[in-house]
Symmetry: C2
Subunit: 703 residues, 2 copies
C-alpha cells in the first residue's frame, strides 16, 4: 500500500469514525503511554497455541486483533513456538490443579506469557483476561493471574420476539434478524459472541420467556442453528424458551396438533422427546429449555392439574439423552386480591423441593416481586436445598428508567448476592446458594435479562453497557466489588485518564441510590400502571389487583407501606429468624426496606431524626437534585471522553433530570393528599398541580 | 500527530471498519485513478461562498468533507476568494435565468468552478451535484451543469409510530428516538438530512399516516422541533401526519377534549387554528399536515356527514397565516362486497374537484389499489384539473418482498410517471399531471413512503438504498431514466469497476420484472392475507371482502382475473377513451395488465403462443429461476465489491431464491385446482403438496 493511499484511508477513517459505542469494552485503541506500550510489545512478539480448534482460533484471533490495536503492530500466530521466547503461549493442559474446567491461569514461564486451561474455553477466557489486563494498563512483568468461574451456567435471557420486537427492550429491536436467517449472517452476531465470551458468558436464551411456538418449528430451528454456529467458537451455547402448550399448537407433519399438552400424557411426552431429538439434529450442543409456565397467562402443567415439577420433569426426561438442562422459572403469582404476591413463589415452590429431576434448575428472580429498583432478596434462596436454584437479574431497565436514566446495576446485584439468608447460620449468603457451595447443587446458574438491542451502541443508554459488563463479571466471580468492575469498565470503554476514571466510577456507584431516591425510596415499589415509563402511584384500576400501584404502597390517611409482619401478610415468616427478627421490627428494619415490610405512620420519627413524611420528601427531592450533580460531574470529565459519546450521555442525563422531577412531583403531590402535611423546608413546592402531573401519562397511552 | 500514531489509527480503522452500508451513496472514498484525482485537485484548491447561512455552511461542510475523502487533501473554506482561481465558488444570485428557485447551475468561470443558484438551497443541491459528478468519475474540464427540480415538494413519508415501530418497516425500528428527544440528538439525524439533501428531498413527514395524536402535544412538538432544527440547515421541512379526531382526544389545558371533531364546528376550527399556531411557535417553518381520513378505520369528516373537502379546507384555514400546506390522501375505499375497490378513490374525489382550498394538495397513490408490484396508473391523474394532485410511491417493500427480495423500483416509478393519461391528448403523462405542467397546479408534490429504519445500513436490504436514491432523483427530475439512476447509484455506492457497474445495473433493471413474474404476473394482485410475508392466494375470509386474496384474482373453473370492462365493474370507464379502448380489448390490452381488467379463460391462447395457464406457469417458473440468475450475476461481481456488503446481499438473494419458489409453488398448486391442467414442460411439478405450502403461513401467524 503506498503512502498516499494510507493517508487517504486515514482521512476517511477520521471522517467516518466517531465513538458510536459499537465496540463496547473491547476497544483496542492504541496505548498512549509509549514505555508501557513498549513493555507490552516486548512480551507479545508472537502467539502460539498447543492445539487447534475453533475456540482456540477465536482466542488467537482476538489476541491478534487486540494487540494490533493496542500495540500498533501485527503479531504473528505461529503453529509452534519452538524455543522462541517473548511471546504468548496458549496451552490446554490437565496440569492446572488450581482452576476448574473453565478457569484459566496466566503466568510467565521462560520469558513467555503462558495462558493455561483445562479446556479450550478456559484458554479463550484467559486470552480475554490478558487483553483486559493490558487495556486497563496493568504491569505484566510479574504477571500471575488465575481465575475460575464460580457458577457453571452464565447466561443471558433475551426477551426477544420473532416479530423483531423486544419485551421490555429499550435499545431498538431484536439483534436476531429472523426473516433473514439462516442465509444472511449479520456480522453483529459474532461481535455479540465476542463481547459475551470476553466476560465468560457461556449461554444465551435467544427468545422471550413469553415464548412463541414458532421457534420450535423446523423453519426457525434452522435459523437458531445458524446463530448457534456463530456462537459455538466463542464457547456459547444456545437455549430456547419454550411455549408449554406447543404440542397442542404445533403438532407435527402427520398430526395437526395434539389434543392436550398434559405433561403426564404419553403422547405429549413423546412429542417433546421427538422435538428435543429434532432440535439436537440442528444444534448438537443445544443448551436446554427455559420455561415460564402458569405465570401471567402463560400455559403450564397446572392447566391439567399437574405441578411445576411434573412439567419440568417431563422436559427433563425428553432431555435425558443429551447434555442440556431444563430451567424452570419460579416467577408465579395468582390474581388473588387477598394474597400477598410477595409470598407466592415461595408457597408454590418450596413444597416441591426434592421432586425435581436432577436436570432441572429453578430460576428465581433476585427479589420476591419483580425487578424493582430495590428489593429484599427472594426468600426462596436457601429454602430449596434439594433443588438447584439459579438467580435471574434484569439488565434491561424495565423499572430503572428505560434508556434515559443512568443506573449502574452492580450494587443492586451485589446487594442481593451478599445478603445473608442465615439458612445454614451466619454467612449463608445468596451467592453461596447460587454458586452451589451451600447446598452442593449439581447445576449452578446466573441469568441476566439482556439489555441489548439493535441500537448501534447495543444498550440504548451508552452507560448501560456497564450493566452487561457487570453482570458478566459477577456471573464469573460474585466476589468482585462493584467498584472494581466499574473501574475496569470505565478504563476499557471510556478513558484511562485517572481523575476522570475516579469521577465516573464514583458517579456510577452512586447512580442506583440516586434513582431509588426519586423513584421508590425506603421500600416503595411498583408505582407504575401499564405504562412503565410514567409515574402513576395513584393507579388503582386493573384486571388484577396486583397490577395496580396502590396494591404495593397502600397509602392512607395514617401512613404508607405494606405490612408484611405477623399482623399483616406475614411474608416475613418466609425468612430465617435472624433475618425476620431484624426486619420485623420497624426500629431495626433498615430504612431502605422499611415500607416493604411495615405500614408506617406519616408522623413516625425515624432514625434520621425526621418524620416519615419529611424523610420521604427529602429523598424525592435530593434524588432529583442529585441528577443535577451527575450532570455536573459528567461535564467535568468532558475533556477525557470521546465527544460523540459524551454528548449522547449528556443528552440522556438532561432527560433524566426532567423525568426525575416528574417522578418527584408525582409522588409528593399524590402522597400529600394522604399525609396532609406541607413539603418540608428547604424544598420548594412543585410548580404544577397533581392534576397536571396526572395528565402527563395520557400522552403515552395514545396509540 | 506523529507517524506512529497515524499508523496506529490506520490499523484501528482497518480493524473496525467494514462497509456496513451506513454511508449510503455519500461514500467519499479516495479516487484510485491518480491522473483523474490530480485533475480534480487542481480545480478544488479552495471553497468560497458569497454569503453565509446555515444552509450554505452545510454546502461548504459537505464539499470539504467530500473532497477530503475523494482527493485526500484538506480543502480550505475561504471567507472571500478575492482574485484567487482554481477553487470552487458558491454564489447565491438572481442572475440565473435558466433555473428555478431551487435549481443550480455549475460552470467554469475564470478557472473557478462556480455553483450558482437563486437560493441557499439551490447552492446546496449544486454542491451535492458537483460531488456526484466527481464520485461518478466524470470530467470537469468543460463542466457545465444546470438543473431545476420539476416538482416543488419532494418528500418522504415515514410510517413511524411513537412507540418506535414502523408500519410496514423492514429495516429495524424508527429512526426517531422519541423517548430521548429533545435532549439527545442522535448523530444519525444529520446523516439522514445529508442523504436527503443530496437528492433534493426537501420535506419529511415524520410520523405514520395512521397518526397518533401524541405528536400534537406540546411534549412531542418539542421533540419534533429538535428534529426540525437538525433538518433545517439541509433545506428540509418537517411535516406531521395528523389524527383527524385530535380535538376530541386531546383537548387543551383548559378543556379535556372537545365533544366533536366536526370540521364545520367553530370550536373545532378554533382548536385547529390554536394548534397550528402552537406548532409554529415550536417550528416556525413548519411544512404542513398530511391526513389519512375516513380510510381503513381512521376518523374523518365523513363521521360528521362532511366531505373530504370540508375536512381539508378546515385545516387549510388554520394554516392560512403560515406557509404550510395541507396534504390530503385519496387512499379511500369502503367495505362493499359488490363494489370494485379500484374505482373508490375516483368516485369519491373527482366530484370534489374545484372545492378544495388552494393550500390543499390531494395525494394519490400511483395505482388504484395499493402499491402492488405492478398496477396501471390511478385514473385520478388527469381527472382533477382544478386540484393539485401529488403522487405517492412506496419505497418500503410492503408488497415487494420486505428486506429479503432485491427489487429496484425505478422502473415501477417510471412506468407510472411515463404513462399517458390522454386527458389533454397524447403526451398527457402522469408526470405532467404531477409536475403541474398539464393543469398549471400551484403546488406540486412527489411523496415516497420511506424504506428507512434503524438498521445500520438504513434500508434492511442494502440494495434497497437504491430505491431511496431513485425516488429522490426522480422527484427532482422525472425525465431521468432508470438506467442512468442505477448507474449513478452503483458507482457512488458499490464500485466504479466498469464491468461490474454494467452487470449490477443490468441486474437492478431486471429485478422488478423478475419479482412480478414469480409473485403477481400478468396483472394479478394482492395474494396476501394478514401476513404480507407469506403467499396466500387461497385466502377468502376476512372482516372485509376487499381484504381477501380471492377478491382480487377471482379464479374459477373457467379462468382468472377481475373483469373491469363494461361487462364487469367498468372501472375502465374512469380512463380516457384512448386508454380505455386499448385496455378494454383483451387482444390489445398489454399482457402485464391483462388480469387487472379481464377474466380470461385458462385455455385462452395469448399473443405469446401459449394458453393463459401455460403462460402463467411459465412466468412463475422463469421468475423463480431468474433469482438463480441474479445470484450468479452477484457472484460474478464479487471481486469488485466490499466483502461484507457482498456477503450481506448474497445471503438475502439465497433467501429470495427460497421464497420465490414458495411463491411459485403456492400459486401453481392453488391455481391448478381451478385450471385442472398439468404443469407445462419443461417445468417440474413442485415437490410438495398444496397442503404443505398452506401450512407454511401458520408459522408466521403464531405470536
Amino acid at each position: 500500500m503506498n503512502r498516499l493511499l494510507i493517508c487517504f484511508l486515514l482521512v476517511v477513517a477520521q471522517l467516518t469514525y466517531a465513538d458510536d459505542g459499537y465496540r463496547l469494552w473491547l476497544k483496542y485503541d492504541p496505548i498512549a503511554n509509549t514505555s508501557q506500550r513498549d513493555a507490552y510489545s516486548r512480551s507479545a512478539q508472537f502467539i502460539a497455541a498447543n492445539k487447534t480448534s475453533p475456540i482456540i482460533k477465536s482466542a488467537t484471533d482476538e489476541l491478534q486483533m487486540g494487540l494490533q490495536g493496542l500495540l500498533g503492530k501485527s503479531v504473528p500466530v505461529l503453529t509452534g513456538a519452538g524455543n522462541r521466547t517473548g511471546g504468548i503461549l496458549l496451552e490446554v493442559t490437565a496440569n492446572t490443579p488450581e482452576i476448574n474446567e473453565e478457569g484459566y491461569r496466566i503466568a510467565k514461564r521462560q520469558n513467555n506469557i503462558v495462558i493455561s486451561a483445562k479446556t479450550d474455553a478456559g484458554v479463550l477466557y484467559g486470552a480475554f483476561a490478558l487483553l483486559r489486563h493490558l487495556q486497563t494498563g496493568q504491569p505484566i512483568e510479574q504477571l500471575t493471574l488465575a481465575s475460575s468461574p464460580k457458577v457453571k451456567l452464565r447466561m443471558l435471557n433475551h426477551w426477544d420476539n420473532p416479530n423483531g420486537t423486544i419485551e421490555r427492550g429499550y435499545a431498538g429491536g431484536s439483534l436476531w434478524k429472523w426473516y433473514e436467517l439462516p442465509e444472511t449472517i449479520d456480522p453483529r452476531y459474532k461481535d455479540y459472541a465476542r463481547a459475551n465470551a470476553s466476560l465468560g458468558i457461556n449461554g444465551t436464551v435467544v427468545n422471550n420467556v413469553n415464548a412463541s411456538p414458532r421457534l420450535l418449528t423446523g423453519e426457525y430451528l434452522q435459523k437458531v442453528a445458524a446463530l448457534a454456529d456463530v456462537f459455538r467458537p466463542y464457547g456459547i451455547k444456545v437455549y430456547l424458551s419454550v411455549y408449554f402448550a406447543a404440542p397442542k399448537t404445533l403438532g407435527d407433519r402427520t398430526r395437526p396438533g395434539l389434543k392436550t399438552s398434559d405433561p403426564l400424557d404419553p403422547q405429549v411426552r413423546q412429542w417433546w422427546a421427538d422435538k428435543t431429538k429434532e432440535i439436537h439434529q440442528y444444534i448438537p450442543d443445544f443448551g436446554g429449555f427455559l420455561v415460564k409456565a402458569n405465570s401471567e397467562g402463560e400455559p403450564g402443567p397446572q392447566d391439567y392439574g399437574r405441578t411445576h415439577a411434573d412439567g419440568a420433569n417431563m422436559l427433563a426426561e425428553a432431555m435425558k439423552p443429551y447434555n442440556g438442562v431444563v430451567i424452570w422459572r419460579a416467577f408465579v403469582y395468582k390474581a388473588d386480591p387477598k394474597a400477598d404476591r410477595f409470598k407466592a413463589a415461595y408457597e408454590e415452590f418450596t413444597p416441591l423441593d426434592g421432586q425435581f429431576d436432577p436436570k432441572v434448575i429453578v430460576q428465581v428472580k433476585n427479589g420476591p416481586i419483580d425487578f424493582q429498583p430495590r428489593e429484599p432478596f427472594s426468600p426462596l434462596f436457601g429454602n430449596m436445598p434439594k433443588t438447584p436454584l439459579g438467580i435471574e437479574f434484569q439488565l434491561t431497565q424495565e423499572y430503572l428508567g428505560f434508556a434515559t436514566h443512568l443506573v449502574y446495576e452492580a450494587p443492586l446485584f451485589k446487594e442481593c448476592l451478599d445478603a445473608d439468608t442465615y439458612v445454614k447460620g451466619k454467612g449463608s449468603t445468596v451467592a453461596k446458594v447460587v454458586d452451589g457451595s451451600l447446598h452442593g447443587y449439581t447445576h449452578t446458574l446466573m441469568a441476566g435479562v439482556a439489555n441489548t438491542g439493535s441500537d448501534r451502541n447495543w444498550t440504548g443508554h451508552p452507560m448501560a453497557q456497564s450493566n452487561w459488563y457487570a453482570f458478566g463479571r459477577l456471573a464469573w466471580d460474585h466476589t468482585l466489588t462493584s467498584e472494581v468492575i466499574a473501574d475496569e469498565w470505565v478504563k476499557m470503554t471510556l478513558t484511562r485518564e485517572p481523575t476522570a476514571v475516579k469521577r465516573i466510577t464514583n458517579l456510577l456507584l452512586k447512580s442506583r441510590d440516586i434513582y431509588v431516591d426519586y423513584n421508590t425510596p425506603m421500600g416503595l415499589s411498583r408505582p407504575w400502571a401499564g405504562v412503565h415509563f410514567a409515574p402513576e402511584p395513584w393507579q388503582s384500576k386493573s384486571p388484577r389487583p396486583d397490577w395496580t400501584a396502590v396494591y404495593y404502597h397502600r397509602a392512607d390517611s395514617i401512613g404508607i407501606g405494606f405490612d408484611r409482619t405477623a399482623s399483616g401478610s406475614n411474608a416475613l415468616a418466609q425468612y430465617q429468624p435472624e433475618v425476620r427478627q431484624q426486619w420485623a421490627n420497624p426500629e431495626t428494619c433498615p430504612l431502605p426496606y422499611l415500607l416493604w415490610f411495615h405500614h408506617v405512620p406519616w408522623t413516625k420519627k425515624l432514625s434520621t431524626g425526621r418524620s416519615l413524611w419529611d424523610e420521604l420528601c427529602t429523598r424525592f427531592y435530593t434524588g432529583a437534585d442529585s441528577v443535577r450533580w451527575m450532570q455536573q460531574e459528567w461535564t467535568q470529565v468532558k475533556p477525557a471522553i470521546d465527544p460523540v459519546f459524551h454528548a449522547d450521555v449528556a443528552g440522556r442525563l438532561a432527560t433524566q433530570q426532567r423525568e426525575a422531577i416528574w417522578w418527584r412531583d408525582a409522588w409528593v403531590l399524590y402522597l400529600q393528599e394522604y399525609a396532609r402535611q406541607p413539603i418540608p423546608a428547604p424544598f420548594k413546592k412543585p410548580d404544577r398541580t397533581l392534576e397536571d402531573v396526572k395528565q402527563l401519562v395520557n400522552i403515552y397511552l395514545m396509540r
